[in-house]
C-alpha cells in the first residue's frame, strides 16, 4: 500500500499548539520545561518532535494528550482546547508500559475496559493488527515472556486497537537495539499507511526522525523552544537504503548544527 504523499500540504490542521509554556515544581525548585512553543500538526501528517534529553519533548506530548495542564498557552485538537484525555487520542509510552499481570490479549483489551467499550466489533481489527505486527498466536503470553520488541509491538496494537485518529508516541523505540528499531520504524510506517493516522512522534534520534517524518519540529535544550521546522524531502515509501543517501547524511549534519548551534526561533 502506498504511503500518503506526505507533508500534509493543504490538509486540515488537527492539533494547534499555541504558545505552550510549562513550569513545574521539583524537589530542587522550579523547572522551566517549555517556553512559548507553537506549531501545527495537520490531518494525516507524521510529525517528529526532536530534541536532546530533557528539552521538554515529553512535557509537550503529555500536555497534548491532556495528561497535564500547561502553565500558559493552549493546545487545540480539532478546534477545541485539550483539557483532559480525549477519545480521539491514542498514546504510546516510553518502554512498552504493558501491565505485567495481564496477558497480551488482556493488555490489548485494557483501553476497552476503561472506556466501557464493547470490543466485539473491533475483534477483527485487533486480529488483523496482531497478524501485521507478527504477534498472532501470542495472545495468552504474559509481558515477561515477550522480547522488548514484541512488547513494544503489543503496545502499538493496544493503542491502535480502538482506532484513535491521533497517535501521540513518546520515544516508543528508545529502549530497543538499532536493528529492532529499524524494524519497528518500518512497521510503524506500514501501519500509518494502512490506517491513515495523524501522528506526533517524540524522539531524540535524528536518524529516526528523518526516516519517519514529513516534518521535524526541532527543539532547543531546556526550556524547550521551537528551534526550527525541518521539512523532510525524502519520497515515500521510505526504505532503509535512504538512511545512507547523501540527502539523509547532509540533513543529519544540518539538524545537528541547528541543535548545537542553539538557533533561535524563526
Amino acid at each position: 500500500m502506498a504511503e500518503p504523499s506526505g507533508n500534509g500540504k493543504g490538509a486540515e490542521p488537527r492539533i494547534v499548539i499555541d504558545n505552550a509554556t510549562k513550569y513545574y515544581q521539583t524537589k530542587t525548585g522550579q523547572t522551566h520545561a517549555l517556553e512559548k512553543f507553537s506549531a501545527t500538526i495537520r490531518e494525516g501528517e507524521l510529525v517528529c518532535i526532536l530534541g536532546p534529553s530533557g528539552c521538554g519533548k515529553t512535557t509537550l506530548l503529555w500536555a497534548m494528550s491532556g495528561l497535564h495542564p500547561l502553565t500558559s498557552g493552549r493546545i487545540l485538537l480539532d478546534g477545541t482546547p485539550v483539557t483532559g484525555p480525549r477519545p480521539e487520542i491514542g498514546m504510546v509510552f516510553q518502554d512498552a508500559n504493558l501491565l505485567p499481570w495481564r496477558n497480551l490479549k488482556q493488555n490489548i483489551l485494557f483501553p476497552f475496559e476503561i472506556k466501557h467499550l464493547n470490543p466485539q466489533p473491533y475483534e477483527e481489527r485487533i486480529q488483523h493488527l496482531l497478524q501485521t505486527v507478527g504477534l498472532a498466536g501470542f495472545e495468552n503470553k504474559y509481558p515477561r515472556e515477550l522480547s522488548g520488541g514484541m512488547q513494544q509491538r503489543a503496545s502499538i496494537v493496544r493503542c491502535l486497537s480502538f482506532d484513535p485518529s491521533v497517535l501521540l508516541m513518546d520515544e516508543p523505540f528508545g529502549a530497543l537495539d538499532a536493528f529492532t528499531r529499524d524494524e519497528m520504524n518500518l512497521l510503524l510506517l506500514q501501519l500509518w499507511a494502512e490506517n491513515k493516522k495523524t501522528i506526533a512522534f517524540v524522539t531524540h534520534s535524528i536518524a529516526e526522525a528523518l526516516f519517519l517524518a514529513d516534518r521535524i519540529l526541532i527543539m532547543t535544550p531546556r526550556p524547550g523552544r521551537l528551534a526550527k521546522e525541518f521539512i523532510v524531502e525524502l519520497p515515500r515509501p521510505r526504505t532503509l537504503d535512504m538512511q545512507t543517501s547523501p540527502y539523509f547524511i547532509q540533513s543529519v549534519k544540518e539538524i545537528k548544527d541547528i541543535i548545537h548551534g542553539g538557533a533561535e526561533v524563526e
Partner: protein, 284 residues
C-alpha cells in the same frame, strides 16, 4: 479526590533508573519459589529422609529408655493423636473460631485502612507510627487487660488476634499501595480512567503481591496470638490444653497438640502459597 490525582500524576519526572516494581519491595519470590522436588526420585529421597529422621528419634528414645514425661516417642505422640482425637476436637474448634473471626476482622480493617490511608500521604505519616507500634508490640501482652474488660469468653482472644493480624496486613498492604507506577497510571488516564478505575485496574493489582504477603504473615501471627492468648486465660482452646497437659507432665498429648498447631500453620502457608502462585506470579 479526582482533582488531587490529576495534580499527582501529571508532572512528568525523568526516569531515575529505579524500576518502580523494585521500589520498597520485599522479594516476593522468597515466598513463591520454595524449593520443591523436581521429580519422583527427588520426592522419594526427601520423604525417605524424613521417615528416617523420625525412626531415628523413635529408636534412640527407646534404646536409652527416655521416659515419656521428658520426651515422648513419635509413635507415642501419634498414638495420643488418634486416641484422644475426640477430646482435642472441641478445643481445635475453639482455636479455629478465634483465629478465623479475628483474622477476617483484622485483615479487612488492615487492607481497607491501607488502601485509604495511602491516598493521603500526610494522614499516612500521622498514622504510621501507631501502626508500627502495634506491629512491634506483642498483642499477647494485652490479653490480661482484654480479659479484664471482656471476660473469659472468646471475645478477648478474638480481639487479640485481630489486633495482631490487622497491623501486619496493613503495613504490608500499604507498602503495596505505595508502589505507584506513574507510567501505568498515566496509561490508564490517557484512556480517560476515573480515580476508581485507576485504583481497581492499576493500584490494586500492583499492590496485590504485597497484600498476599501481608495476609500470609498476618495469618501466622494470628495463629501465634490465638494459641498464646489461650495459654494466658480462659478454659478452652489448643493453647489452654498445652498448659493443662504440661502441668500434668502428660507429654504425649502435649506434643500431639503441638503437631495440630503446626499442621494449621502449614495449611495456612500452603493456602497462601497457592494464592500467590495464582495471583502474584507475574512478579516472580
Amino acid at each position: 479526590m479526582a482533582e488531587r490525582l490529576i495534580e499527582q500524576i501529571p508532572e512528568f519526572k525523568k526516569d531515575t533508573g529505579v524500576k518502580p516494581d523494585q521500589e520498597g519491595f520485599i522479594d516476593w519470590s522468597a515466598l513463591t519459589s520454595v524449593p520443591t522436588a523436581k521429580n519422583a526420585r527427588e520426592a522419594f529421597i526427601i520423604i525417605a529422609t524424613a521417615i528416617g529422621v523420625i525412626l531415628l528419634i523413635e529408636f534412640t528414645l527407646r534404646i536409652f529408655n527416655v521416659p515419656s514425661y521428658i520426651l515422648p516417642t513419635p509413635s507415642g505422640i501419634l498414638g495420643s493423636l488418634f486416641q484422644s482425637w475426640e477430646v482435642f476436637l472441641p478445643h481445635l474448634g475453639v482455636t479455629l473460631q478465634e483465629l478465623l473471626i479475628g483474622y477476617v476482622i483484622g485483615a479487612v480493617i488492615g487492607m481497607v485502612l491501607a488502601g485509604v490511608i495511602t491516598q493521603f500521604p500526610f494522614a499516612e505519616k500521622m498514622v504510621t507510627p501507631y501502626i508500627i507500634l502495634l506491629v512491634v508490640t506483642p498483642m499477647l501482652a494485652l490479653v490480661p487487660l482484654l480479659i479484664l474488660k471482656l471476660g473469659f469468653g472468646l471475645e478477648p482472644r478474638i480481639v487479640a488476634v485481630a489486633l495482631a493480624v490487622g497491623p501486619m496486613v496493613m503495613i504490608n498492604s500499604a507498602t503495596g499501595f505505595r508502589r505507584t507506577d506513574l507510567a501505568k497510571i498515566a496509561l490508564a488516564r490517557s484512556y480517560g480512567a476515573s480515580t476508581l478505575q485507576i485504583f481497581r485496574k492499576i493500584r490494586f493489582p500492583l499492590a496485590l503481591p504485597m497484600i498476599i504477603v501481608g495476609l500470609m504473615v498476618g495469618g501466622i501471627f494470628g495463629l501465634l496470638t490465638a494459641v498464646g492468648a489461650e495459654m494466658v486465660g480462659g478454659g478452652e482452646g489448643l493453647g489452654n490444653r498445652l498448659v493443662y497437659y504440661s502441668s500434668l507432665a502428660r507429654m504425649e498429648p502435649f506434643f500431639a497438640i503441638i503437631v495440630i498447631i503446626a499442621i494449621i500453620g502449614i495449611l495456612m502457608y500452603i493456602l497462601f502459597y497457592l494464592i500467590g502462585k495464582k495471583w502474584a506470579s507475574w512478579e516472580a
